[in-house]
Symmetry: C2
Subunit: 195 residues, 2 copies
């Protein structure tokens, strides 16, 4: 790999900046923190800060893990029940996210009060949802069906993180299970006429 010392440093710096940003944001609210303060905390100049992130909200979000190629591939070529395959896919992705619980928690806090940060994350999720839609299109014939399923899935991740953040003593895994139960139940309600 050509991306050696230089690339490694870059990723480290990017992560340092994110951590500095999140720590300041959690204690003082991101809106009350200046890029100058963040840069100072990360040990770089203000100018360099902007070489890494377009703005402080982007620095707070950082570079969240995308769906991994092998996760997507497993879902595309899966041969089991689609609901089970999709749940497995989400479980795997949640496991990836669980590797950075502290950052996840701080990002969640920022998202609660910062519109711009939400927009940035939303843009990222839009891309992810698109990837997932493409993948699911090969499992179900209809594109709208695939789009709906992709929405269900990414939303479920979001709600699981939200639940995990608010219900103490619940792991990310458990939160996803609870949320997924709601997804399945909601689907049942829409199909089987009730009352």
């Amino acid at each position: 790999m050509t991306l050696s010392l230089r690339e490694k440093r870059r990723q480290e710096t990017a992560r340092d900046i994110q951590k500095s940003t999140l720590e300041l944001a959690v204690s003082h609210d991101l809106d009350n923190v200046t890029t100058e303060e963040i840069a100072a905390a990360a040990g770089i100049s203000t100018r360099t800060f902007f070489n890494y992130y377009a703005n402080k909200e982007a620095a707070a979000i950082g570079h969240p893990p995308s769906f991994r190629d092998d996760e997507i591939e497993a879902l595309r070529t899966g041969s089991g029940d689609l609901a089970a395959d999709l749940k497995l896919f989400l479980d795997r992705h949640i496991a990836t996210l669980a590797g950075d619980e502290d950052i996840l928690r701080m990002v969640g806090k920022v998202l609660q009060s910062n519109e711009k940060a939400r927009g940035i994350l939303d843009g990222f999720l839009m891309t992810e949802r698109h990837v997932l839609t493409e993948c699911l299109s090969e499992r179900v014939g209809n594109r709208q069906t695939a789009a709906a399923l992709a929405s269900y899935a990414t939303d479920a991740i979001g709600r699981a993180i939200f639940l995990w953040e608010h219900a103490k003593s619940m792991s990310l895994n458990e939160a996803l299970d609870v949320v997924w139960g709601g997804v399945i139940d909601a689907s049942r309600v829409l199909i089987k006429p009730n009352r």
Copy 2:
């Protein structure tokens, strides 16, 4: 109503500013438009612009119609099949949105490229989804189920608008029908084991 001439003017000005913002945004891309230009186009001072909106992205979004109280009430007290009631609810809301097709189209264009605007709309939709979740909680026992249904519904509106914007010669109503078909189909896929 105490909100007479003064309040009316306020709403008119707010709308004028939104229109000026959107027209400039569609022709030049919002990022390349300054608040000064928008203010000039709307015939007000820059300072006054900020008395109406916190930033140009908020001006572009404006004040989208919330779910109306009677729409929510109808859904809460509805006694039919929940899927049918929910679809009716969405039809009514889409009809409300259809009253401002030109603005809707321009807002859509801004949302494609502007993260901050997406975040602002997202915050608004978060509130709407919460209202809907509360309402649906009274129809289905489980809160997670209600949350999932509320997500399905608000996402469906978003996808319907997207489809309407990209598929010419399709009305908002028709777009919603197509999207809703996908939602139902997706639910079916999750319930009935396929393959």
